[in-house]
Amino acid sequence: MLGYAIRRIMWIFPVLVVASIITFLMMHAAPGSPWSREGRQLSPVVIERLNERLGLDQPLPMQYLAWLGRIVVGDFGLSVSEHPYGVRNVIGNSALPSLQLGLMSFGLALIVGLPLGIIAALRHRTVIDYAATGVAILGMAAPAFVLGALFQLVFTAGDFDPPGLLPRHGWDSPQHWILPTVALAGLPMAQIARFTKASMLDVLHTDYIRVAHSKGLEERWIVTHHMIRNALVPLVTIAGPILAILVTGSIAVELIFDIPGLGQLYWSSIRFRDYGAVMGITVLYAGSIAILNAVVDIAYGFIDPRIRDGSREPA
């Protein structure tokens, strides 16, 4: 088991190196340079000096190796558009709002999604089930950018009357957090509800639940101690995809609500060809997802030994 865990973790490093090479090549394949930003005219001499300073005058393989050498010691290099800040500072400042937004949305999705799924399964094929399932379908049908845009139209003050209930842009106070969090939570909420329901229904028809019933255990006890506990185990496997939703949905939500997070930083860095920042963010995200997937696999390896010897595909 320990061997499996170590092997699984060691694989993260080659994955990250290849991911960063792909990002590096794509970034440099994109036309334009950091200096071709609109409304900014730099003289060729200045550009030459800047390129020299950032190492952009070197051949591509050398540039990549230099970047790799720096990243190993934790130096993310300089950000092109945010002189004189280093990429690590820029990312560090943006990571907090994104992390906060992601975690709050995930929490909200769990708080709403889990009960919805559990109730739908317990009241299978009743009006309550159909209502809960309908809410989940609605969540699947309303992407984060649509919800965000809609919320902004309905709940915030525009340039005209009447004054809105909540602030329109920014991330300064808890009032600012409400709309983006709810907008981002819609889809994962629906996914968690649907997954929980399916998982609960699977458990509902197992032998051990029948045994529990025949022993005359109290219904409430069976639900809380036998059903929910077992039904929630597979939920671990959708943590990865849900994280991906929170991360990707956050680009649109951060842009709509002007939240100074990683999604917005990534977006502007790509537009302005800020190679250092794009590489840094990619490695950060790819690293987090790879680590999360590894943790999920390992956790599942503990729960279900069949995964370890490869007879079952880890999700």
Partner: protein, 314 residues
């Protein structure tokens, strides 16, 4: 379809066996209310996508300049003469543009899934069948792609090919489904590999191998056909995901380019004009929601139909 289904059943019955795999699946799909609702919605959307240009009262590019001039150069509200849903500030008919959005979404979704099938199935099948180093190499490569957050990778790909001839092709449509396909094949590859692994030691495969049937033929004729159910389900789940990715991308301005309309870009226009033309946002938003819900319901139905083990699930 129902005709083929009846035929199938009788053919199977006269041979004195139970219903075949497909007939069984179709029957289960027909008994799934959500699946049938989804099927109807998706069929309607597909028809709108194909015949939209003939149904549309206006060309999606055409500007009704006379109309908006008569309205102080403002967008026309719904139920204006000739414009059921009104027009955008450029005088383009919103109903026609929403119809064009249906075509765009359906095209992107379908072709992205074709790209997914063409990359994901071979990689998964080869990895699962060959095993050993080949499998390790291929699966670690899929791990790399899997580690990218989807939309980040799509944005990266599109920014690499932006302004090239590829980008201009079909107003950005080509770029969008290429990028989405290049990102989404990973799930398919993992699924196919797992399926091949579970099928490759069955007796009929061993028998084919013992008879000296070439590997390629075994995989194509005996292994993959038996994995078709899960593959169909995966495609049906991939389609709404692709529609979502396309509309998000177009909303951000990186996807389908004007004059072609995507529901995502129409919603963006609606938000920008929310104060003077609040109706603009409604049709594309409703259309997108209907499409996503329809495909999700169909996906549920197909899962019930092709995955009988868990058919009690929903």
């Amino acid at each position: 379809m129902s005709h083929a289904h009846t035929l199938d059943v009788t053919a199977a019955d006269t041979r004195g066996r139970g219903r075949g795999y497909w007939a069984d699946a179709v029957l289960r799909l027909r008994h799934s209310p959500s699946g049938m609702v989804g099927l109807v919605v998706v069929a309607l959307l597909a028809l709108l996508g194909i015949f939209g240009p003939f149904l549309a009262p206006w060309d999606y590019r055409a500007q009704d300049l006379q109309g908006i001039m008569g309205n102080n150069a403002q967008a026309l509200p719904p139920l204006s003469p000739g414009h059921l849903f009104g027009t955008d500030p450029l005088g383009r008919d919103l109903f026609s543009r929403t119809l064009d959005g249906a075509q765009v979404s359906m095209t992107v979704a379908l072709i992205a899934q074709v790209v997914v099938l063409f990359i994901g199935v071979p990689i998964g099948a080869i990895a699962g069948w060959r095993g050993g180093r080949t499998e390790t190499a291929l699966m670690r490569f899929t791990d790399v792609i899997y580690a990218f957050p989807d939309l980040f990778f799509v944005i990266l790909i599109t920014s690499a090919i932006v302004y090239t001839p590829l980008f201009r092709l079909m107003n950005g449509l080509f770029m969008v489904f290429l990028a989405i396909g290049l990102v989404s094949w990973v799930t398919m590859a993992r699924l196919v590999r797992a399926q091949v692994l579970s099928i490759k030691h069955r007796e009929y495969v061993e028998a084919a191998r013992a008879l000296g049937v070439p590997d390629r033929q075994i995989v194509l004729r005996h292994v993959l056909p038996n994995a078709i159910g899960p593959i169909i389900v995966a495609v049906s789940v991939g389609i709404p995901a692709a529609i979502l990715a396309e509309s998000t991308l177009s909303f951000l301005g990186l996807g389908v380019q004007t004059p072609r309309a995507s529901w995502g870009s129409l919603i963006e226009v609606g938000i920008r004009n929310a104060q003077n033309a609040p109706w603009l946002i409604v049709p594309p938003m409703v259309a997108l929601a209907i499409a996503l819900a329809g495909f999700t319901l169909l996906g549920d139905g197909l899962r019930d139909a092709f995955d009988p083990k868990t058919s009690r699930r929903r």
